[in-house]
Structure formats: C-alpha cells, structure tokens
C-alpha cells in the first residue's frame, strides 16, 4: 500500500514553475531519494508535502486519505527534519522535545525522549540550550524531534549534513533500523550521492521542477553505459591516439595518463584490438559509472 501518493503536483510562483506536474508514490517501509541540483524543486516539494506551502494544482494522498481533507490526522503520522531549520535557541534540548511530544500527543513523553536521545547519543546534552550545540549535535537533536511521534513517513532534507562521518554512519544505521523494524517510509534528500546510493530503494531525479528520471540506484547507473578508462601507456601512444580519433572517441592526457570513456560492452574488444596493434600499458583503471556521473550527465543534458 502506498503511504504517500503525489498526483500531478504543481507549484508556480508567478511565471516560475518551481514544481511542474510531478507524480510519484512511496510504499510502506521504502526509502526514496529526491535528488536534483539547487533550484530543482526538492524543498518546494517537501514543503508542500508538509502542508506549509499550498500547491498550485495536484493532489497529495497519505495512507489513502486526501491531505487537504485530513490534514491534522495525517500530520500525526508524518514528521520531518531538515538541516535548514532550527528549534528555539534559548530552550534546552529536553524542553524543545517536550514541546513537540506534546504537539504530537505522544504518550509517555519522558520515556520516548530518553530512548531517542540515547539512540542518537545526545542524552548527555538534554539540559543544554540549543544555542550551545555544535552543528552535528543540533542535527541529531532535530532527528530526535523527527522520530518523536513514531512517524510512518519521514521527510528528511539533508539529515546528515554537518555530521562527522562516524556519526553519519550511525544515523544511517538508525534510519535503516527504523525502516526494517517499524516499516517507516522515508523521502530523503541529500547532496551526498554515495549516501543516497547506499540508503535509497528508489531515486527520483528532479530538475527545473520536473521528474527527469525515476528508478532504483542501480537502474539509474545502468542507464549510463559508458565507463571511464584511465591508462598509463608504455608503448604505442601515437597508435592509441589514431585509434581513438578514427573512432571519434574523445580523450585527454593528464600527468602521463590517458582518459577516455567507452561503452562497457565494447571494452574487452577495444583492449584486444589495442593489444593487437602493439599498444602496451603499465596500468589500467576501469571506473564504472556512479550515481554522481548519472547526476552530472543528466543535469548537463537538461
């Protein structure tokens, strides 16, 4: 069953089409990445999903119910965290969480707050004012707030930004645990493409307000057929250059290495032909395309 269904969602600011007719679904327990360059419409989409921005057109359904009709009931089961928001600075961590636990009508508030603060390893900061926390500590407190109401869907806008790698790994592990144990669905935006690749079941690519790609991380990468090849040539540089030029393959030299891209399927054939023409190499590295390559490629194209 779809936890979230977005149908033909649009948001126009005057003539600017911030979000232009997008539709997608998120199923129970699924982590979906929302990626795109700056200004692609990710935050606009998140804000509409949270009800803090009114769509120009389109519909949002949570748990089969229309968001505009059952706004309050739905928001009891949804939460979010973003690197771009704060909690009142003068209040302590615990005071802030207590407020949000009350707003979501959480039972056994103290117990829930303690459990989450311990999970995110910030229990010792409970009496500290938000203004005294480092960026990484603040991010973890915001994540605690995001989980306070046992959400069934979480909207996470760069949740691991400003975390050091060790804590970021722990946070990712916690998210995966929540996904597996409680089937929490998540819509996840991040600029850390490695993180998205490792965490998300599906990825939606937005650019200029439109969905330009939608697939599993592997599915997206497979759409890029070309692999990058780096070689240190010990013999036959001229022969190699002629070979590549004849086949209109772009190449460049840097620090004694030649760089070019090839369709993965023809790599063995090319290497055989080069060897046959007495081209010898000391070192070869074949880099398979990553999500980052896909990201750069697709942004370049659009």
């Amino acid at each position: 069953m779809a936890v979230l269904q977005v149908k033909n969602l649009k948001k126009y600011f005057g003539k600017t089409k911030a979000v232009d007719d997008i539709s997608f679904e998120i199923n129970k327990g699924e982590i979906v990445g929302l990626l795109g360059p700056n200004g692609a419409g990710k935050t606009t989409t998140s804000q509409m999903l949270l009800g803090t921005l009114t769509p120009t057109a389109g519909e949002i359904f949570y748990f089969g119910e229309k968001f505009s009709d059952k706004n309050r009931e739905i928001l009891h089961k949804v939460n979010f965290s973003s690197a771009y928001i704060d909690l009142p600075w003068l209040l302590t961590v615990k005071e802030n969480l207590n407020i949000y636990a009350r707003l979501y009508e959480v039972k056994n508030r103290d117990k829930r707050i303690k459990k989450l603060l311990q999970e995110f390893e910030v229990w010792h900061l409970r009496k500290k004012a938000m203004s005294k926390l480092s960026a990484g500590q603040k991010t973890r407190v915001l994540l605690t707030k995001a989980f306070i109401n046992y959400p069934r869907l979480l909207i996470l806008d760069e949740p691991t930004a400003s975390l050091d790698p060790e804590i970021a790994v722990k946070v990712r592990q916690f998210l995966v645990k929540q996904q597996k144990e409680y089937e929490v669905a998540m819509l996840f935006t991040s600029h850390n493409l490695m993180e998205v690749q490792g965490l998300c079941d599906r990825i939606i690519f937005l650019n200029k307000g439109k969905i330009i790609a939608h697939d599993t991380p592997l599915g997206l990468i497979r759409k890029l057929k070309k692999a990058k090849i780096e070689m240190i040539i010990s013999q036959g540089k001229e022969v190699l250059e002629k070979y590549l030029k004849d086949r209109k393959i772009e190449f460049s030299w840097k620090k004694g290495k030649v760089f070019f891209s090839l369709d993965e399927k023809i790599i063995p054939k090319v290497l055989y032909q080069l060897s046959d023409q007495k081209v010898r190499y000391e070192e070869i590295e074949i880099l398979r395309p990553t999500l980052e390559d896909f990201f750069l490629e697709i942004v370049k194209k659009t």
Binding site: L50, T52, L53, T54, E73, V78, I85
Partner: protein
Amino acid sequence: MNFNRVLAVIVRHFYTFKHNLNRLSDSFYWPAMDIILWGLTSQYIQKAGGEVSNLILVLLSGLVFWQIIWRGQYEISVNLLDELWNRNLVNLFSTPLTVNEWIMALILLGVIKMIGAIGFSILLVWLLYSVNLFTFGWLLIPFFISLLIVGWWAGLIVGGLLLRFGQRIETIAWSGVFLLAPFSAIYYPVSSLPSWAQKIAQIIPSSYIFEGMREVVQKGQISYINLTASFLLNLIYIALAYFFFKWCFKKSKEKGLARLE
C-alpha cells in the same frame, strides 16, 4: 585615520538604515508619536488647569491600563516573531497544530502574563506615588476586559501583517499598536482632540474605554454607554482581525511559510 574606511562604516550602517524599518521607526516614528501624545496631553492639562480632579490618578491609570492593550498585542505579534527568529514556524505548522489552537494559546498566555505585568505596575504605582488604582475596585474590571480585547485584535492584525511581509516589518510588533494611542484618548478626553482626530476616535473602541475609565476615576460612576460601545466595536474588530489573520496565513502558505524564516 583613514577616512575611506570611516566612510565605509558609515555607508554600511546607512544601507542598513535604508533597508531596515526598525531603524526608520527609531528615527521618525517614535519621536513623532511622543510629540503627538505628550503634546496633546500637555495642551489638555494646560487648558483644564486645576479643573481636572484626580489628575495624577487619571494619568497613572491611563499609563498602566494602556499596558493591557500593549501586552495583549505584544504576546501575539512578538511570539510570532520569536518563531520566525528561531526558524521554528515550519516545525510548528508541520505538526497537527492548527492556527486556531495557536491563537488560543497566545491569547491565554497573554492573559496570564498580563495579570502578572499589570499587578506589578499597580504595585509600583502604589509604592512610588501612593496612588491606589484599586480605589474604584470592580468598576474597572469590565474596562480591563474590553482593553484586553483591543490588544488581541491589534495583535491579530499585526501578526497577520508579519505573516504576509515577514521580518522586514518586524518593528510593527512593538510599534503598530501605538498608532491607536493618540486617538484612544489615554490621558485626555476625546473632546480635546482636533475634529478630524475625534472622528477617528469615534470608531476606535479604546477611546470609549479610556473615556469610561476616566469617568470611573473622576466621578466614581460607570458609563454603560461607553462600555457597551467599546464592546460592540470590539466585537466587530476582533471578528475582522481574526479573518484578516486567517487570510494572511492562507496567503503566506501560498508563498511558503519557510520563506519567512
């Protein structure tokens, strides 16, 4: 001393002055307000001479009771600003919290804090000037309530404008309600205002409240006409202000609450 750098610092603050309504209001709005309010009060005292009975009580009660309006307004608008300063508005309104619940919370908070603040002011007036504002006891209570309602609708209008235009007009959270002050006849009767200002005073509930309160203080009797007029006008204003606030919230959501933070 490098005067290019001195000029750079001056230009830096001049730019802020140009863009920031707070600085403009500090320079022009407050001096103008003080001149109008205290000028009219002085004129009234000079004209009335010794005819005004309980003059100190009239002035001090005006000063203290104006606090009720100001506090009522302040609690709504400054607490809204506080959420903007803390970048907490999106957090709040992505929870099941409704706008009506939020308004109710701020109104109740305002009442609690107002009781404390007014109690403190009354005590201070008694300690410093030996003037007991409770001399007229319960007769003033209905006027207190009416004053509080003025504060609420003023707060809702100011809050609505803050939601619409954001922090760049934050100064109205403190200064907005003072636009009512000269026409509210806090320290002087409406009749001492210029005729054009009297017309404005007639459509403002606070003028009827302060006129009524002065009658209580000076004559020891309650003016039911002033009290009724203030409540009737308040009823209209609070309804309009509520719908204005809700409209501004709706409009603000069309542009996104996040843009305000």
